[in-house]
């Protein structure tokens, strides 16, 4: 426990130092842009940091604190934040109220965000350490859920942060929202919330890709070019999908045309069949990714619509002079509007058919890859999945047969026992 606590605290100390250094730099830059007064007194930071490390060093060897590291961590964390908060507020309030978010200011505000991101990075770094202190079970699962959702909450907080000032100033409009909207961060949030690729799909995709490249490597001469073309042509989610499919088909056809003469020279046989199968697999894999991107685009677009509704709602409140006093209210509103929009999407025929199509295609692709893998490994002394399935079928049928026979024996035994009883009764009557 003491070892784990030390690792966490050392990490925390480093992160805090980095965070405050970034904060210092950002503050300096901001002040430079607006004032000609003195820079932030860096001695303050040095003194503060030294005093914290002295506190830490005093306590880390103490058995009493080692047995309750979290209480110590809690106190220490509060001290850091209170000190940094007071220091920052004392030095920066005058100009913070004058921020007008021109390009330079935006850049420096982004620098300040790195403080936030360092905090987030610290929590993530210590997360795996924290989990080691749990036994597997409900407590660990609940903490994982708590942590992951705190992460989502803070991502959402980060998304709205650039807009807080204008909300407080009552100058917030939907246009402000669009200007300050961070699309990559929003995509992260959606991915986290909807688990855009659940583990089994992620594993399937990763396995499929890895297996396919392994098979291609086995036929390296023929497919080096195709592999490179696949990697460089993986589509992004922002392109128009019909155009993507058309472009992809063009690429596929030109690739097929370029290798066609060579393929004609190859004699018919397992090698040629293998190559043709892998060509087909690569094609199917790319189509799957295109369809998957199409589906995800639908999800992202719906998520965007939901958050724009939240922005409209806040803008209306601001216009009507209502207070937006609490980020938790914004967050809860976003969750509710998100639900409304996504449930509406999920209930559409379009979504249902797309989901079914994607699932069906993905399943067939996985099946084909598995079959190709089995063919590639057929000379190895390994039992493959098809053979195991045949075995399972045999075992299943045998179990059924045994079940029937056991019931027959039971029934026969009952009949025999009844007969014996009747015979014995008759015999005793006659005697």
């Amino acid at each position: 426990m003491e070892t784990n606590a030390k690792n966490m605290f050392e990490t925390m100390a480093d992160m805090q130092k980095q965070a405050v250094e970034n904060l210092t730099n950002a503050t300096e830059q901001i002040k430079k842009n607006l004032f000609t007064t003195n820079m932030v007194d860096s001695d303050i930071f040095k003194k503060w940091y030294d005093s914290q490390m002295a506190f830490f060093n005093q306590n880390k060897g103490d058995n009493k604190n080692a047995s309750n590291p979290m209480e110590f961590f809690n106190t220490w964390m509060n001290n850091q934040m209170e000190t940094a908060k007071t220091w920052f507020s004392n030095n920066n309030n005058p100009f913070m109220n004058n921020m007008n978010m021109n390009d330079d200011m935006k850049k420096n505000y982004d620098n300040m965000m790195s403080m936030f991101n360092n905090w987030s990075g610290t929590m993530n770094n210590t997360y795996s350490e924290m989990l080691k202190n749990f036994n597997a079970g409900s407590g660990k699962d609940a903490f994982s859920g708590l942590f992951n959702n705190a992460e989502l909450y803070m991502k959402s907080f980060e998304l709205w942060m650039p807009m807080f000032k204008s909300i407080q100033d009552k100058s917030f409009t939907p246009e402000t929202f669009k200007q300050l909207f961070n699309a990559p961060l929003f995509k992260d949030m959606m991915d986290k919330m909807f688990n855009m690729q659940p583990d089994f799909m992620k594993n399937m995709n990763e396995e499929a890709k890895a297996n396919m490249f392994k098979m291609m490597d086995a036929n390296k001469g023929m497919f080096d070019n195709m592999k490179n073309m696949m990697n460089s042509n993986m589509p992004s989610s922002n392109e128009l999908f019909s155009q993507l499919f058309a472009n992809y088909n063009k690429m596929q056809n030109s690739m097929n045309n370029s290798v066609a003469p060579l393929m004609k020279l190859m004699p018919q046989g397992p090698a040629k069949q293998n190559i043709e199968s892998m060509n087909e697999l690569a094609n199917e894999f790319n189509i799957f990714n295109l369809k998957n991107n199409q589906m995800q685009y639908m999800m992202y677009a719906t998520g965007l619509k939901a958050i724009e509704e939240v922005a409209d709602s806040i803008a209306t409140k601001v216009r009507n002079g209502e207070e937006v006093s609490n980020f938790m209210d914004i967050y809860n509103q976003w969750l509710a509007i998100n639900d409304k929009n996504f449930v509406a999407l999920f209930e559409t025929d379009e979504y249902s058919k797309m989901q079914a199509d994607l699932s069906s295609f993905g399943m067939k692709l996985k099946r084909n890859i598995n079959l190709q893998m089995e063919k590639a490994m057929e000379n190895l002394p390994l039992i493959n999945r098809t053979e195991m399935d045949e075995l399972y079928k045999t075992v299943y049928e045998l179990k059924k047969r045994i079940n029937v026979l056991e019931k027959q024996i039971d029934a026969d035994s009952t009949e025999v026992a009844a007969e014996v009883k009747t015979t014995a009764k008759k015999a005793s009557k006659n005697s």
């Binding site: 809690n74 913070m96 936030f116 407590g139 609940a142 807080f164 919330m193 079914a356």
Partner: protein
């Protein structure tokens, strides 16, 4: 009011960190929570399926035993989540003699188990065991959700073995699209799923249910930090989570027929469903029938549960509208105070 500048940002980060630290401290101290603690003993097993008999301290006042079958895609432990929210315990306390089926955890070798195996095999064998071991020609049968549908199918084929049939929040008519699951199952390529995976992963089914309310997984953890000081509330939360995360995979062939014949083609309510050598005619359900549905059920709409009343042959048939949701039927306090006594009385009156 929140200070929406950098100082406010730091305060928000501090608050979130504090909640995480408090959560870490408290959750670390919690031993594994237990569910399904009402004492019971294993009395019968066939392959992965088990039959348990709840232990009684006093003799049952109801002489005919009850056999309960839950849905296959979730664990029956939710019926006995904790002592003060246990439908099974309530039944025992009120005098019933209760047996419960445990459908087990299908592994890869179980991929070929069919609906016939589950209903004509496991369920029928369990019924026969209870009948034989208790010396009763007929027993009371209860089924929940998918277990209710299966129990109704069973009752149509073997009406002579059942004294009464009670089903809770069970789907019978799959023609509607009120719930998105009903729409999706019309489109999914279940053959591709089963042929590829063999065993249907529980995570896939769970993700589907999760999409009924996407924010539920997020919002439940928003309230968790507030529970850290209340051990009872926290334990209740953890028990529910434990049950929710303990979902079995599904045998592929059973899943294939269940989705195609019932969800997609709606054969059961139309009288076109066949199981093995049997043509399933719901008119053959002639024993007293009690159908319980939840008025705010967002998983199995009432329009899917109630139509069975029109097609069964029972003269003694009734339905009960439970004010609540799908899970509330068996875990809420209303279930303890209102539903359980009503059901026990109904069963006892027909014993």
């Amino acid at each position: 009011m929140m200070n929406m500048n950098a100082a406010g940002i730091m305060e928000e980060m501090t608050k979130t960190s504090e909640k995480l630290v408090k959560g870490y401290e408290t959750l670390q101290k919690i031993d594994e929570v237990e569910v399904a603690t009402t004492p019971k003993e294993l009395v019968w097993q066939s392959d992965l399926v088990k039959l348990f008999h709840y232990k009684r301290e006093t003799p049952a006042t109801c002489k005919i035993p009850v056999l309960v079958s839950f849905a296959i895609m979730n664990r029956q432990d939710v019926l006995d989540l904790q002592p003060d929210r246990s439908l099974m315990k309530k039944f025992l306390d009120m005098g019933l003699d209760v047996y419960i089926m445990d459908w087990g955890y299908p592994q890869k070798q179980h991929r070929y188990l069919t609906m016939e195996d589950y209903i004509l095999g496991f369920m029928n064998d369990a019924v026969d065991f209870v009948r034989k071991s208790t010396g009763n020609d007929k027993i009371h049968k209860m089924g929940i959700c998918q277990g209710g549908t299966f129990s109704a199918i069973y009752a149509s084929i073997f009406p002579e073995k059942l004294k009464t049939l009670t089903t809770y929040v069970a789907p019978y008519d799959f023609s509607g699209n009120e719930c998105m699951l009903y729409k999706w199952t019309k489109d999914i390529d279940v053959d591709a799923m089963v042929d590829t995976m063999g065993i249907i992963p529980a995570k896939m089914i769970d993700n589907g249910f999760g999409m009924l309310k996407p924010s539920a997984e997020v919002s439940k953890f928003l309230n968790l930090p507030n529970m850290m000081g209340d051990e009872a509330k926290l334990s209740n939360f953890l028990r529910m989570e434990k049950w929710k995360n303990d979902c079995p995979d599904l045998a592929g062939e059973m899943f294939r027929k269940y989705i195609k014949d019932l969800w997609r083609d709606n054969k059961l309510i139309k009288g076109e469903f066949e199981l093995g050598k049997y043509k399933v005619d719901l008119k053959n359900i002639t024993m007293p029938f009690l159908n319980i549905y939840a008025t705010e059920d967002n998983i199995i709409p009432n329009s899917s549960t109630t139509p069975i009343a029109k097609v069964i042959g029972s003269k003694d048939k009734s339905e009960h509208a439970f004010q609540g949701g799908h899970i509330g039927v068996f875990v809420g306090s209303k279930s303890q105070k209102e539903l359980a006594p009503m059901v026990v009385k109904w069963v006892m009156d027909r014993t």
